[in-house]
Protein backbone atom coordinates (compact mmCIF):
# COMPACT_ATOMS: atom_id res chain seq x y z
CA UNK A 1 0.00 0.00 0.00
CA UNK A 2 3.06 2.25 0.13
CA UNK A 3 2.46 3.35 -3.44
CA UNK A 4 -0.79 5.13 -2.45
CA UNK A 5 -0.97 8.51 -0.71
CA UNK A 6 -1.78 8.41 3.01
CA UNK A 7 -5.43 9.56 2.50
CA UNK A 8 -6.20 6.62 0.20
CA UNK A 9 -4.48 4.13 2.52
CA UNK A 10 -6.56 5.44 5.42
CA UNK A 11 -9.82 5.15 3.43
CA UNK A 12 -8.93 1.60 2.29
CA UNK A 13 -8.29 0.67 5.90
CA UNK A 14 -11.61 2.21 7.04
CA UNK A 15 -13.63 0.54 4.27
CA UNK A 16 -12.04 -2.84 4.91
CA UNK A 17 -13.43 -2.81 8.45
CA UNK A 18 -16.97 -3.06 6.99
CA UNK A 19 -18.60 -6.52 6.99
CA UNK A 20 -17.93 -8.50 3.81
CA UNK A 21 -15.33 -6.01 2.52
CA UNK A 22 -11.79 -7.30 2.09
CA UNK A 23 -8.66 -5.30 1.25
CA UNK A 24 -9.12 -5.67 -2.52
CA UNK A 25 -12.75 -4.57 -2.54
CA UNK A 26 -11.85 -1.70 -0.19
CA UNK A 27 -9.14 -0.60 -2.62
CA UNK A 28 -11.60 -0.70 -5.56
CA UNK A 29 -14.20 1.29 -3.58
CA UNK A 30 -11.62 3.87 -2.47
CA UNK A 31 -10.46 4.41 -6.07
CA UNK A 32 -14.08 4.65 -7.22
CA UNK A 33 -14.76 7.36 -4.64
CA UNK A 34 -11.55 9.13 -5.72
CA UNK A 35 -12.64 9.22 -9.35
CA UNK A 36 -16.29 10.11 -8.60
CA UNK A 37 -17.43 13.74 -8.94
CA UNK A 38 -16.73 15.77 -5.81
CA UNK A 39 -20.41 16.32 -4.98
CA UNK A 40 -21.06 12.55 -4.96
CA UNK A 41 -18.17 11.91 -2.56
CA UNK A 42 -19.31 14.82 -0.38
CA UNK A 43 -22.90 13.46 -0.36
CA UNK A 44 -21.66 10.01 0.71
CA UNK A 45 -19.62 11.51 3.56
CA UNK A 46 -22.56 13.72 4.61
CA UNK A 47 -24.95 10.72 4.57
CA UNK A 48 -22.67 8.74 6.86
CA UNK A 49 -22.35 11.69 9.27
CA UNK A 50 -26.11 12.31 9.21
CA UNK A 51 -26.82 8.60 9.81
CA UNK A 52 -24.69 8.59 12.94
CA UNK A 53 -26.16 11.89 14.14
CA UNK A 54 -29.87 11.29 13.58
CA UNK A 55 -30.63 7.56 13.78
CA UNK A 56 -31.60 6.29 17.23
CA UNK A 57 -33.87 3.72 18.82
CA UNK A 58 -37.62 4.26 19.10
CA UNK A 59 -38.54 5.01 22.70
CA UNK A 60 -41.44 2.57 22.53
CA UNK A 61 -40.46 -0.43 20.35
CA UNK A 62 -36.67 0.05 19.96
CA UNK A 63 -36.80 0.06 16.16
CA UNK A 64 -34.36 2.27 14.26
CA UNK A 65 -35.80 5.75 13.75
CA UNK A 66 -34.81 9.37 13.28
CA UNK A 67 -37.59 10.60 15.58
CA UNK A 68 -38.55 10.10 19.22
CA UNK A 69 -41.03 7.36 18.26
CA UNK A 70 -40.79 5.43 15.01
CA UNK A 71 -43.16 5.67 12.05
CA UNK A 72 -44.99 2.48 13.02
CA UNK A 73 -45.54 3.40 16.68
CA UNK A 74 -46.80 6.88 15.77
CA UNK A 75 -49.12 5.62 13.01
CA UNK A 76 -52.76 5.92 14.27
CA UNK A 77 -53.78 3.23 11.80
CA UNK A 78 -51.75 0.56 13.59
CA UNK A 79 -53.31 -1.63 16.27
CA UNK A 80 -51.49 -0.83 19.54
CA UNK A 81 -53.19 -3.74 21.28
CA UNK A 82 -51.17 -6.33 19.38
CA UNK A 83 -47.39 -6.53 19.85
CA UNK A 84 -45.15 -8.63 17.67
CA UNK A 85 -41.91 -9.50 19.50
CA UNK A 86 -38.88 -9.89 17.24
CA UNK A 87 -35.14 -10.26 17.85
CA UNK A 88 -33.74 -7.62 15.50
CA UNK A 89 -34.78 -4.70 13.26
CA UNK A 90 -34.12 -6.90 10.21
CA UNK A 91 -36.74 -9.38 11.43
CA UNK A 92 -39.21 -6.50 11.79
CA UNK A 93 -38.39 -5.37 8.25
CA UNK A 94 -39.08 -8.89 6.94
CA UNK A 95 -42.54 -8.92 8.54
CA UNK A 96 -43.28 -5.38 7.34
CA UNK A 97 -42.36 -6.37 3.77
CA UNK A 98 -45.02 -9.09 3.90
CA UNK A 99 -47.71 -6.52 4.73
CA UNK A 100 -49.41 -9.21 6.83
CA UNK A 101 -49.25 -7.44 10.20
CA UNK A 102 -50.94 -4.21 11.28
CA UNK A 103 -49.99 -4.10 14.97
CA UNK A 104 -46.85 -2.73 16.60
CA UNK A 105 -43.48 -4.31 17.38
CA UNK A 106 -41.09 -4.86 20.25
CA UNK A 107 -37.46 -5.42 19.29
CA UNK A 108 -35.52 -7.40 21.88
CA UNK A 109 -32.06 -6.77 20.45
CA UNK A 110 -31.10 -10.45 20.57
CA UNK A 111 -32.19 -13.74 22.10
CA UNK A 112 -31.43 -15.66 25.27
CA UNK A 113 -28.32 -17.77 24.84
CA UNK A 114 -27.12 -19.73 27.91
CA UNK A 115 -23.79 -20.73 26.30
CA UNK A 116 -22.97 -17.14 25.33
CA UNK A 117 -24.04 -15.90 28.76
CA UNK A 118 -26.89 -13.79 27.34
CA UNK A 119 -29.52 -13.74 30.05
CA UNK A 120 -32.85 -11.92 30.49
CA UNK A 121 -31.04 -8.78 31.67
CA UNK A 122 -29.02 -8.53 28.46
CA UNK A 123 -31.94 -8.09 26.05
CA UNK A 124 -34.97 -5.78 26.25
CA UNK A 125 -37.27 -8.11 28.16
CA UNK A 126 -37.77 -5.83 31.17
CA UNK A 127 -38.89 -3.10 28.74
CA UNK A 128 -41.36 -5.54 27.15
CA UNK A 129 -42.87 -6.53 30.51
CA UNK A 130 -43.08 -2.85 31.53
CA UNK A 131 -44.82 -2.05 28.25
CA UNK A 132 -47.27 -4.90 28.77
CA UNK A 133 -48.09 -3.64 32.30
CA UNK A 134 -48.54 -0.03 31.12
CA UNK A 135 -50.62 -0.58 27.97
CA UNK A 136 -53.83 -2.34 27.07
CA UNK A 137 -52.38 -5.31 25.21
CA UNK A 138 -54.72 -7.99 23.83
CA UNK A 139 -52.22 -10.21 22.04
CA UNK A 140 -48.49 -10.83 21.94
CA UNK A 141 -47.12 -12.57 18.86
CA UNK A 142 -43.78 -14.23 19.60
CA UNK A 143 -41.86 -13.95 16.34
CA UNK A 144 -38.40 -14.80 17.63
CA UNK A 145 -36.40 -17.14 15.39
CA UNK A 146 -37.14 -20.86 15.36
CA UNK A 147 -33.64 -21.91 16.47
CA UNK A 148 -32.88 -23.07 20.03
CA UNK A 149 -32.15 -19.53 21.28
CA UNK A 150 -35.30 -18.07 19.70
CA UNK A 151 -37.52 -20.83 21.05
CA UNK A 152 -35.99 -20.51 24.52
CA UNK A 153 -36.66 -16.76 24.45
CA UNK A 154 -40.27 -17.35 23.39
CA UNK A 155 -40.68 -19.96 26.15
CA UNK A 156 -39.26 -17.54 28.74
CA UNK A 157 -41.61 -14.71 27.71
CA UNK A 158 -44.55 -17.14 27.73
CA UNK A 159 -43.70 -18.31 31.25
CA UNK A 160 -43.27 -14.76 32.58
CA UNK A 161 -46.59 -13.59 31.14
CA UNK A 162 -48.54 -16.78 31.85
CA UNK A 163 -50.34 -15.14 34.76
CA UNK A 164 -51.77 -12.33 32.60
CA UNK A 165 -54.89 -12.80 30.47
CA UNK A 166 -53.11 -11.64 27.33
CA UNK A 167 -53.45 -13.95 24.33
CA UNK A 168 -50.01 -15.37 23.47
CA UNK A 169 -49.32 -16.71 20.00
CA UNK A 170 -46.23 -18.04 18.23
CA UNK A 171 -45.53 -17.57 14.50
CA UNK A 172 -46.09 -20.78 12.55
CA UNK A 173 -43.31 -22.98 11.14
CA UNK A 174 -43.76 -24.98 7.97
CA UNK A 175 -43.00 -25.53 4.32
CA UNK A 176 -41.78 -22.36 2.53
CA UNK A 177 -43.80 -21.22 -0.51
CA UNK A 178 -42.38 -22.85 -3.63
CA UNK A 179 -40.20 -25.10 -1.45
CA UNK A 180 -39.44 -28.69 -2.38
CA UNK A 181 -40.58 -31.20 0.23
CA UNK A 182 -37.49 -33.40 -0.22
CA UNK A 183 -35.24 -30.65 1.17
CA UNK A 184 -37.39 -29.86 4.20
CA UNK A 185 -35.82 -30.95 7.48
CA UNK A 186 -37.71 -33.44 9.73
CA UNK A 187 -38.45 -30.88 12.47
CA UNK A 188 -40.05 -28.41 10.04
CA UNK A 189 -41.98 -31.23 8.40
CA UNK A 190 -43.20 -32.40 11.83
CA UNK A 191 -44.41 -28.85 12.62
CA UNK A 192 -46.04 -28.52 9.20
CA UNK A 193 -47.97 -31.75 9.70
CA UNK A 194 -49.00 -30.81 13.25
CA UNK A 195 -50.29 -27.41 12.16
CA UNK A 196 -51.97 -28.53 8.91
CA UNK A 197 -55.28 -26.85 8.12
CA UNK A 198 -58.54 -27.94 6.53
CA UNK A 199 -59.39 -26.81 3.00
Amino acid sequence: MNHYPEAIVRLIHSLSTLPGIGKKTAERLALHILHAPEHEAAALAADITELKKSVRLCASCFALTDRETCQICSDPGRDNGVICVVENPTDMAAIEKSGAFSGVYHILGGALSPIDGIGPGDIRLAELFKRVRRSQIREIILATRTNVEGEATAAYIRSKLAATNIKMTRIASGIPMGGELQYVDPLTMQKAMEKRYGI
Binding site: I115, V148, A155, K160, V184, D185, P186, L187
Partner: protein
Protein backbone atom coordinates in the same frame (compact mmCIF):
# COMPACT_ATOMS: atom_id res chain seq x y z
CA UNK B 1 -6.51 -38.24 4.05
CA UNK B 2 -9.94 -38.34 2.45
CA UNK B 3 -13.47 -37.62 3.55
CA UNK B 4 -15.05 -39.15 6.60
CA UNK B 5 -18.59 -39.62 7.88
CA UNK B 6 -19.72 -39.98 11.47
CA UNK B 7 -22.56 -39.22 13.87
CA UNK B 8 -22.15 -35.91 15.66
CA UNK B 9 -23.84 -33.74 18.28
CA UNK B 10 -23.68 -30.01 17.61
CA UNK B 11 -22.07 -28.35 20.65
CA UNK B 12 -21.46 -24.82 19.48
CA UNK B 13 -21.69 -22.63 16.40
CA UNK B 14 -20.08 -19.29 15.65
CA UNK B 15 -20.92 -17.09 12.68
CA UNK B 16 -17.97 -16.52 10.37
CA UNK B 17 -18.41 -13.79 7.80
CA UNK B 18 -21.78 -13.34 6.13
CA UNK B 19 -22.58 -16.91 5.17
CA UNK B 20 -20.28 -19.37 6.94
CA UNK B 21 -20.35 -21.05 10.34
CA UNK B 22 -17.60 -22.51 12.50
CA UNK B 23 -19.12 -25.50 14.25
CA UNK B 24 -17.92 -27.62 17.15
CA UNK B 25 -19.22 -31.17 17.05
CA UNK B 26 -18.85 -34.06 19.46
CA UNK B 27 -18.52 -37.01 17.08
CA UNK B 28 -18.86 -40.69 17.81
CA UNK B 29 -15.61 -41.65 16.03
CA UNK B 30 -13.33 -38.62 16.14
CA UNK B 31 -14.15 -36.94 19.44
CA UNK B 32 -14.55 -33.18 19.53
CA UNK B 33 -13.88 -31.52 16.18
CA UNK B 34 -14.15 -27.98 14.84
CA UNK B 35 -15.31 -27.66 11.24
CA UNK B 36 -16.00 -24.90 8.74
CA UNK B 37 -19.49 -25.01 7.22
CA UNK B 38 -19.18 -22.91 4.08
CA UNK B 39 -22.35 -21.14 3.00
CA UNK B 40 -24.22 -22.84 5.85
CA UNK B 41 -26.57 -19.94 6.45
CA UNK B 42 -27.92 -20.15 2.91
CA UNK B 43 -27.65 -23.76 1.83
CA UNK B 44 -31.00 -25.51 2.29
CA UNK B 45 -29.95 -28.67 0.49
CA UNK B 46 -26.75 -29.44 2.39
CA UNK B 47 -27.64 -28.29 5.91
CA UNK B 48 -31.43 -28.23 6.03
CA UNK B 49 -32.52 -27.72 9.67
CA UNK B 50 -29.38 -29.41 10.99
CA UNK B 51 -27.37 -26.45 12.19
CA UNK B 52 -29.03 -26.01 15.54
CA UNK B 53 -27.60 -26.60 19.01
CA UNK B 54 -27.84 -30.13 20.46
CA UNK B 55 -29.01 -31.62 17.15
CA UNK B 56 -27.62 -35.06 16.26
CA UNK B 57 -26.54 -35.32 12.64
CA UNK B 58 -24.85 -37.78 10.38
CA UNK B 59 -22.09 -35.56 8.99
CA UNK B 60 -19.77 -35.83 6.01
CA UNK B 61 -16.51 -33.89 6.25
CA UNK B 62 -13.44 -33.39 4.09
CA UNK B 63 -9.90 -32.66 5.24
CA UNK B 64 -8.35 -29.61 3.55
CA UNK B 65 -6.42 -30.65 0.44
CA UNK B 66 -3.87 -27.83 0.05
CA UNK B 67 -3.39 -26.09 3.37
CA UNK B 68 -3.03 -28.84 5.98
CA UNK B 69 -3.39 -26.28 8.78
CA UNK B 70 -6.83 -25.17 7.53
CA UNK B 71 -10.05 -26.31 9.17
CA UNK B 72 -11.93 -29.46 8.21
CA UNK B 73 -14.78 -28.68 5.80
CA UNK B 74 -18.30 -29.80 6.58
CA UNK B 75 -19.72 -31.07 3.28
CA UNK B 76 -23.16 -32.36 4.21
CA UNK B 77 -25.37 -33.19 7.18
CA UNK B 78 -28.41 -35.37 7.66
CA UNK B 79 -30.47 -34.52 10.73
CA UNK B 80 -31.09 -37.63 12.83
CA UNK B 81 -32.57 -36.12 15.98
CA UNK B 82 -33.40 -32.46 16.54
CA UNK B 83 -34.76 -33.00 20.09
CA UNK B 84 -37.79 -30.89 19.36
CA UNK B 85 -39.03 -30.83 22.97
CA UNK B 86 -35.87 -29.45 24.57
CA UNK B 87 -36.07 -26.13 22.77
CA UNK B 88 -39.61 -25.31 23.93
CA UNK B 89 -38.56 -25.14 27.57
CA UNK B 90 -36.03 -22.53 28.65
CA UNK B 91 -34.90 -24.52 31.73
CA UNK B 92 -34.31 -27.67 29.64
CA UNK B 93 -32.37 -25.55 27.15
CA UNK B 94 -30.26 -24.20 30.01
CA UNK B 95 -29.47 -27.72 31.27
CA UNK B 96 -28.59 -29.00 27.78
CA UNK B 97 -26.40 -25.91 27.26
CA UNK B 98 -24.60 -26.58 30.53
CA UNK B 99 -23.81 -30.18 29.54
CA UNK B 100 -22.60 -29.20 26.08
CA UNK B 101 -20.47 -26.44 27.60
CA UNK B 102 -18.87 -28.97 30.00
CA UNK B 103 -18.09 -31.27 27.05
CA UNK B 104 -16.75 -28.39 24.94
CA UNK B 105 -14.48 -27.14 27.71
CA UNK B 106 -13.26 -30.49 28.99
CA UNK B 107 -12.55 -32.64 25.95
CA UNK B 108 -9.41 -32.51 23.86
CA UNK B 109 -9.85 -31.95 20.13
CA UNK B 110 -9.71 -35.04 17.93
CA UNK B 111 -9.59 -37.66 20.71
CA UNK B 112 -12.40 -40.18 20.27
CA UNK B 113 -14.52 -40.68 23.40
CA UNK B 114 -17.53 -42.73 22.31
CA UNK B 115 -18.67 -43.23 25.94
CA UNK B 116 -19.05 -39.49 26.43
CA UNK B 117 -20.83 -39.21 23.06
CA UNK B 118 -23.30 -41.90 24.19
CA UNK B 119 -23.75 -40.25 27.59
CA UNK B 120 -24.58 -36.83 26.11
CA UNK B 121 -26.83 -38.38 23.45
CA UNK B 122 -28.72 -40.42 26.07
CA UNK B 123 -29.08 -37.43 28.43
CA UNK B 124 -30.50 -35.27 25.61
CA UNK B 125 -32.86 -38.09 24.59
CA UNK B 126 -34.06 -38.47 28.18
CA UNK B 127 -34.85 -34.73 28.43
CA UNK B 128 -36.64 -34.85 25.09
CA UNK B 129 -38.74 -37.84 26.21
CA UNK B 130 -39.76 -35.95 29.35
CA UNK B 131 -40.32 -39.01 31.60
CA UNK B 132 -37.55 -38.22 34.09
CA UNK B 133 -37.12 -34.79 35.76
CA UNK B 134 -34.33 -32.86 34.03
CA UNK B 135 -32.70 -32.12 37.41
CA UNK B 136 -32.20 -35.87 37.96
CA UNK B 137 -30.87 -36.34 34.40
CA UNK B 138 -28.42 -33.54 35.11
CA UNK B 139 -27.11 -35.29 38.23
CA UNK B 140 -26.82 -38.48 36.21
CA UNK B 141 -24.95 -36.72 33.38
CA UNK B 142 -22.55 -34.84 35.63
CA UNK B 143 -21.53 -37.72 37.88
CA UNK B 144 -21.09 -40.13 34.96
CA UNK B 145 -19.21 -37.52 32.94
CA UNK B 146 -16.72 -37.12 35.79
CA UNK B 147 -16.32 -40.88 36.04
CA UNK B 148 -15.69 -41.26 32.30
CA UNK B 149 -13.17 -38.40 32.50
CA UNK B 150 -11.27 -40.13 35.32
CA UNK B 151 -12.41 -37.82 38.12
CA UNK B 152 -15.13 -39.91 39.68
CA UNK B 153 -15.96 -38.39 43.06
CA UNK B 154 -15.36 -40.74 46.01
CA UNK B 155 -18.68 -40.98 47.82
CA UNK B 156 -18.55 -44.32 49.60
CA UNK B 157 -16.02 -43.87 52.41
CA UNK B 158 -14.16 -41.17 54.36
CA UNK B 159 -11.04 -40.14 52.47
CA UNK B 160 -9.00 -39.90 55.67
CA UNK B 161 -10.08 -42.72 58.04
CA UNK B 162 -11.62 -44.91 55.28
CA UNK B 163 -14.76 -45.55 57.34
CA UNK B 164 -17.68 -46.59 55.13
CA UNK B 165 -20.29 -43.80 55.09
CA UNK B 166 -22.89 -46.29 56.44
CA UNK B 167 -20.81 -46.57 59.62
CA UNK B 168 -20.17 -42.84 60.07
CA UNK B 169 -22.06 -41.58 63.12
CA UNK B 170 -23.37 -38.43 61.48
CA UNK B 171 -26.22 -37.60 59.08
CA UNK B 172 -23.99 -35.45 56.87
CA UNK B 173 -20.45 -35.68 55.52
CA UNK B 174 -18.13 -33.07 54.09
CA UNK B 175 -17.36 -33.31 50.37
CA UNK B 176 -13.90 -31.90 49.67
CA UNK B 177 -13.67 -30.47 46.12
CA UNK B 178 -9.89 -30.68 45.85
CA UNK B 179 -9.70 -34.30 46.98
CA UNK B 180 -12.94 -35.14 45.18
CA UNK B 181 -13.91 -37.29 48.17
CA UNK B 182 -16.08 -37.26 51.26
CA UNK B 183 -14.60 -36.71 54.71
CA UNK B 184 -16.40 -37.62 57.94
CA UNK B 185 -17.04 -34.76 60.44
CA UNK B 186 -14.40 -36.08 62.88
CA UNK B 187 -11.64 -36.14 60.25
CA UNK B 188 -12.74 -32.80 58.79
CA UNK B 189 -12.40 -31.18 62.21
CA UNK B 190 -8.82 -32.46 62.42
CA UNK B 191 -7.60 -31.43 58.93
CA UNK B 192 -9.26 -28.11 58.12
CA UNK B 193 -11.01 -25.39 60.11
CA UNK B 194 -14.75 -25.91 60.56
CA UNK B 195 -15.61 -22.34 59.47
CA UNK B 196 -15.62 -22.29 55.68
CA UNK B 197 -15.83 -19.13 53.57
CA UNK B 198 -19.03 -18.97 51.52
CA UNK B 199 -18.70 -20.03 47.90
CA UNK B 200 -21.15 -19.86 45.00
CA UNK B 201 -24.55 -21.60 44.95
CA UNK B 202 -24.65 -22.59 48.60
CA UNK B 203 -21.32 -24.42 48.64
CA UNK B 204 -18.09 -23.39 50.31
CA UNK B 205 -14.97 -22.69 48.26
CA UNK B 206 -13.35 -25.93 49.36
CA UNK B 207 -16.33 -28.20 49.75
CA UNK B 208 -19.91 -28.64 50.98
CA UNK B 209 -21.91 -30.72 53.44
CA UNK B 210 -24.00 -33.52 51.94
CA UNK B 211 -26.37 -35.95 53.62
CA UNK B 212 -25.61 -39.67 53.62
CA UNK B 213 -28.83 -40.43 51.75
CA UNK B 214 -27.88 -38.13 48.86
CA UNK B 215 -24.36 -39.58 48.72
CA UNK B 216 -25.77 -43.09 48.51
CA UNK B 217 -28.17 -42.13 45.73
CA UNK B 218 -25.42 -40.37 43.76
CA UNK B 219 -23.15 -43.36 44.19
CA UNK B 220 -25.89 -45.68 42.92
CA UNK B 221 -26.71 -43.67 39.76
CA UNK B 222 -22.98 -43.49 39.03
CA UNK B 223 -22.59 -47.25 38.79
CA UNK B 224 -25.91 -48.79 37.76
CA UNK B 225 -26.75 -49.08 34.05
CA UNK B 226 -28.18 -45.94 32.48
CA UNK B 227 -31.68 -47.32 31.80
CA UNK B 228 -32.18 -48.15 35.50
CA UNK B 229 -30.47 -45.03 36.85
CA UNK B 230 -33.30 -42.77 35.73
CA UNK B 231 -35.83 -44.70 37.83
CA UNK B 232 -34.48 -43.60 41.18
CA UNK B 233 -36.64 -41.07 43.04
CA UNK B 234 -34.73 -38.11 44.45
CA UNK B 235 -36.39 -35.90 47.05
CA UNK B 236 -36.27 -32.12 46.34
CA UNK B 237 -33.69 -31.76 49.16
CA UNK B 238 -31.52 -34.52 47.68
CA UNK B 239 -31.70 -32.90 44.23
CA UNK B 240 -30.64 -29.57 45.72
CA UNK B 241 -27.71 -31.16 47.61
CA UNK B 242 -26.64 -33.12 44.55
CA UNK B 243 -26.77 -30.01 42.37
CA UNK B 244 -24.78 -28.00 44.90
CA UNK B 245 -22.13 -30.70 45.08
CA UNK B 246 -21.73 -31.44 41.37
CA UNK B 247 -22.25 -27.90 40.03
CA UNK B 248 -19.46 -26.72 42.34
CA UNK B 249 -17.16 -29.74 41.95
CA UNK B 250 -17.08 -29.70 38.12
CA UNK B 251 -16.21 -25.97 37.70
CA UNK B 252 -13.64 -26.42 40.51
CA UNK B 253 -11.89 -29.20 38.56
CA UNK B 254 -12.26 -27.72 35.09
CA UNK B 255 -11.02 -24.44 36.53
CA UNK B 256 -13.40 -22.18 34.75
CA UNK B 257 -16.74 -20.50 35.13
CA UNK B 258 -19.64 -21.69 32.92
CA UNK B 259 -21.92 -19.08 31.30
CA UNK B 260 -24.74 -21.59 31.01
CA UNK B 261 -24.52 -22.59 34.68
CA UNK B 262 -24.98 -18.96 35.72
CA UNK B 263 -27.94 -18.78 33.32
CA UNK B 264 -29.35 -22.02 34.73
CA UNK B 265 -29.18 -20.71 38.30
CA UNK B 266 -31.00 -17.57 37.23
CA UNK B 267 -33.74 -19.60 35.54
CA UNK B 268 -34.11 -21.83 38.61
CA UNK B 269 -34.63 -18.80 40.81
CA UNK B 270 -37.12 -17.18 38.41
CA UNK B 271 -39.26 -19.95 36.98
Amino acid sequence: MGDFTTDAILLRKIEYGDHDLIITFLTRDKGKICVMAKNAKKSVRRFSGAMDLFSVNHIQCAFPKKNKEAMINLCQTVLENGFSHIRYDVVNTAYASYWTEIVTQWLEDGKAQPDIFELLYTALEMVDDGFIPTEVISLLFQIRFMRLSGFSPGLDQCDTCHTNIEDVDSARLWFDFKAGRVVCPQCKGRIIPVQEPAGPFGAGFRGCWVSKGTLKQLSWINTVEMARAGRIKFSPAAIQEGETLLESFIPFHIGRHFNSLKFLHKMRSEI
